[in-house]
């Protein structure tokens, strides 16, 4: 028996299975990070003293990382738009650039974390660093996961393009939605942890 609405949209909802599935997943991600942001607010207002982000964190490095993630979102959406125009090679270039941006983000994060450990700053040092490492660590894990999915869609996943191009486009769009959410979370994390 064939599963219905894997590619075509349901007449009543106007959505296919992929779109519903990815948005349910993204809703769970919003709840996960939302709870951490709520924890941050409660910890901060409940604390008699709270350090400024610049006391511990490297703002220029984080700003560069922010720019890298914004560029990666642009390349991701351009890759998807290339597929809509049936240009697989252009898609490959954009998707490769997206993965590269994800890796650059992780390398910068590695240097940022190394610097903290070198100065003796650990999650156990204080509450600020505990919530900083928890939120940025979880976010970095999402960047790694998203990069792995993107790498699959650049490599072995492209075989689907020949068999069922629309299904492949839907998969790339879903990966793009996840990537955008991960980037959007960073857009909130950067000012909250580093600037305020």
């Amino acid at each position: 028996m064939e599963i219905p609405y894997t590619v075509e949209t349901r007449p009543d909802t106007g959505l296919n299975n992929v779109k519903i599935g990815i948005w349910l997943f993204l809703a769970s991600e919003v709840m996960l990070f939302g709870s951490l942001f709520a924890s941050y607010i409660l910890l901060r207002i409940g604390s008699p003293a709270w350090p400024a982000g610049e006391d511990y964190l490297d703002i220029p490095l984080a700003a560069v990382n922010t720019a890298v993630l914004i560029i990666s979102s642009v390349t991701m959406v351009m890759g998807w738009a290339s597929l809509m125009r049936k240009k697989l090679n252009t898609y490959r270039l954009y998707m490769g650039a997206t993965i590269l941006c994800g890796l650059i983000f992780m390398v910068i994060k590695y240097f940022e974390y190394s610097d903290k450990f070198h100065h003796g700053y650990y999650p156990s040092t204080n509450t600020f660093l505990a919530i900083y490492f928890t939120m940025t660590g979880l976010h970095a894990a999402h960047v790694l996961g998203g990069s792995a999915v993107n790498a699959y869609l650049l490599g072995p996943g492209t075989k689907l393009w020949k068999k069922n191009p629309q299904m492949f486009i839907n998969r790339v769009e879903s990966a793009g939605l996840f990537w955008h959410l991960v980037d959007l979370i960073w857009i909130f994390l950067f000012p909250v942890l580093y600037l305020l």
Binding site: W23, R85, H180, L195
Partner: protein, 63 residues
Amino acid sequence: MSLKAFHIVFISASSLLAFSLGVWALRGPDSNFVVALIGFGACAAMICYGIWFLRKLKREGVQ
């Protein structure tokens, strides 16, 4: 929501962040005009990009 619509939401949020960075850099006595200029410039650039992106996809018929 499609990737196209979510991208516009993301670019709007990023523009707001860049503008906030500019305001943040100007606060207090130790204000940094270079960082503020970068923030406001990035905000303007992202607004221009968002308009270009919408026009490009409309021209190419991408929904």
